[in-house]
């Protein structure tokens, strides 16, 4: 196998406290070594050498929240197009949500996703299975699904509102060492809601979803995690109150609680839906500036563990229609890096913290072997130019889902090379 040399990049790897100019050498799908420029050992075999001077080299990004829509809704996205979008966005591993058709509540569907990803995928896909079987009130077979390749369980798209089942799920999941990913939304408070309850719902007459619909769910889940000691990962938290609840739990020493935030929630507010803009229709809804500031603070102070895109591709069929009829969701894999870099540019976090949020921490949450450039680790590597400006156009996106409120906007920061287990899956750089 050809070796890859990434020469003289700014290597940022928080897993080994590294942020300095280094050359990374990759052999046989693994990180072979990291060397100060000039000190590199000679490479005997065939070699692809990239001069990455001025670029950032870091462990590949890991997205804990992706809707690949495969099986069942391939007109929106499939494993091939979704993982190509992931590769373009610098993600080397994505966690596939189970709300497919059929839903992923059996080892057969899990195995299909794993096999299909091996055949046509561009990056590593690890499926998340459903917590509660779609056809009833029993748990999915966690054990068999973990054997088939599942890394977590979630009822994403809706909340596991039966507290007893969730309590059992948290207990049972401990046997297999997998986290439960919760989409916190009390449906009794959010039902029929279209956007955040607040200024925009007043102005447009659209039914609102109050912050409290999320927060009561966050609170219950934290209490169940306290009761069971199971690993609870809260998905896409969007409100100031949720950040406060997680912070409080962590201050009490609960190590079994983690959470994620999406780039659209820390970048935009409810005002993005002005003019009934369906590309900004998403669950949880875009909130207020006050909430956004709380998310920024949480990203900075460690309350928030990672950035996940909640990549939710839809076609025009679902989005180009009246607001109430339009689907919830934003296509996010390819804009995550530039939006996250805005956090660095605006002084909220360091580049090293950014890599923690996009790679090191999500790896830890699903016990992935990625998230590090330590010698011997799988060579999942992302190289990006933090300043390269590009315009978000339908053609620029590999995802079938062009449903993003950033369409037509110029963003700064672009992935130039993505390497998965020593294979170059995306590159705009010449050797």
């Amino acid at each position: 196998m050809t070796a890859i040399v990434l020469k003289k990049g700014r290597v940022i790897d928080p897993s080994q406290h590294l942020d300095t100019e280094r050359t990374v050498i990759i052999r046989d799908g693994r990180i072979s070594g990291i060397y100060p420029p000039g000190d590199e050992p000679p490479v005997e075999e065939d070699v692809l050498e990239f001069n990455v001077d001025g670029l950032v080299v870091c462990p590949g990004f890991i997205d804990l929240h992706v809707h690949l829509r495969d099986p069942g809704e391939e007109w929106k996205e499939d494993i091939a197009s979704g993982t190509l979008a992931a590769a373009r966005g610098g993600f080397t591993t994505v966690v596939a949500m189970p709300n497919t058709i059929p839903p992923n509540d059996t080892p057969q569907v899990t195995a299909y996703i794993v096999r299909r990803a091996r055949e046509v995928g561009h990056v590593r896909v690890v499926p998340a299975g459903r917590i509660v079987r779609a056809d009833g009130t029993a748990l999915s077979p966690f054990g068999e699904m973990v054997e088939a390749g599942a890394c977590a369980f979630t009822d994403d798209g809706s909340w596991t509102s039966d507290a007893q089942l969730m309590e059992r799920a948290m207990e049972y999941a401990k046997a297999f060492g997998v986290p439960l990913l919760s989409h916190p939304e009390e449906p009794a408070l959010s039902c029929g809601g279209q956007i955040n309850e607040g200024q925009m719902s007043l102005l447009l007459g659209l039914k609102g979803i109050p912050s409290q619909a999320e927060e009561v769910a966050v609170f219950r889940d934290i209490k169940l995690a306290e009761l069971t000691g199971g690993h609870l990962h809260l998905q896409h938290i969007s409100t100031k109150g949720s950040v406060e609840l997680v912070k409080l739990a962590k201050e009490k020493g609960m190590k079994n609680i983690t959470c994620e935030v999406t780039p659209h929630h820390f970048s935009l507010t409810e005002e993005a839906v002005e003019g009934f803009n369906t590309s900004a229709k998403v669950k949880p809804p875009l909130r207020t500036e006050d909430d956004r500031q709380a998310l920024l603070l949480g990203l900075r102070d460690g309350t928030i563990d990672c950035i996940a895109t909640d990549h939710a591709p839809h076609s025009e069929l679902e989005k180009k229609r009246e607001f109430n009829e339009a689907a919830f969701g934003i296509s996010g894999l390819e804009t995550a890096l530039p939006l996250s870099l805005n956090l660095v540019r605006n002084g909220h976090i360091s580049l090293s913290r950014l890599v923690e949020l996009l790679s090191v921490n999500p790896a830890r949450i699903i016990s992935s072997r990625g998230g590090t450039l330590k010698p011997g680790a799988p060579a999942d590597v992302t190289v990006f130019d933090p300043d390269l400006e590009w315009e978000v156009t339908p053609e620029a996106l590999a995802s079938r889902g062009k449903n993003t409120p950033f369409l037509g906007k110029k963003l700064r920061g672009r992935v130039v090379i993505t390497i998965v287990e020593g294979r170059i899956v995306h590159s705009v750089l010449k050797v």
Partner: protein, 308 residues
Amino acid sequence: MSFPERGLIGIRALRREDIELILRTARSMKDISKRDVKKVPALRGKTVANLFFEPSTRTRTSFELAAKRLSADVVNFSPSGSSMAKGELMLDTVKNILAMNVDALVIRAKPEGACEFISQHVDVPVINAGDGMHEHPTQALLDALTMEEQFGTLDGLKVLIVGDILHSRVARSNIYLLKNFDIEIRVCGPPTLIPRGIESMGVKVFYHLQEALEGVNVIMMLRIQMERMQGGHFPSIHEYSKFWGLTAEILDRHAPPDAVVMHPGPLNRGVEITPDVADGARSVILYQVENGVAVRMAVLYLVVGGGR
């Protein structure tokens, strides 16, 4: 492009001078409606399509009459629920109608933002005849015309809106309109039917009708929808009318003697308003109906071409 080129999607986008222009035009249209021959050739040769995706005989008739008095041709299209199953069909229907070369669309539809959505995809002006809980601009304009007729001016008035503010496009459009003038706006109803944070729109909130009536000039009663009971918004019609229904007794005791009573219709007699109030001396409900035609004539005239 905004009013009148794009049509009339909502009051929110209008400036005070737009509103005054429409009201001024409406006043001159009223004269036409009082003539022996109630017709002027202003829109001769133009075609207006009334698309009512949600049934409303009253508003549709008012728009139809308005267009005919301006000599426009009118096509009415009221698809039944079954033939209009889903959302993208609405746009298809609109495009079908447009292929017949119509000059303006008057649209009533259930989803909020439907008129905005359609106007983004067609190149003729769209007039919103009510979209869900969003806006009902011509209703607010006819209400303003009625208030102005009663009191000579809008500035300085105190206007009270009573009932289901939460689900009401009439309330929302009225608030947007009245905010352009020096008007104290009050809303009153059960707290479950008043949107949280509505104070930020510049209105005062009351839960007790008697209190809310003190010193007002205009009392606008909204229709209460029986379905709201199922949602737990109030326990019974009986209790609703006891606390928020307008009776002659409450009106006489708590409102100033010159206050007028309005209602956008259709009325639930005995629920939000008793018959003696609806038909009483202070009721201007039938003037509202009359002014509806005049306001819609004005809007059509300004939007469809004659006014430019």
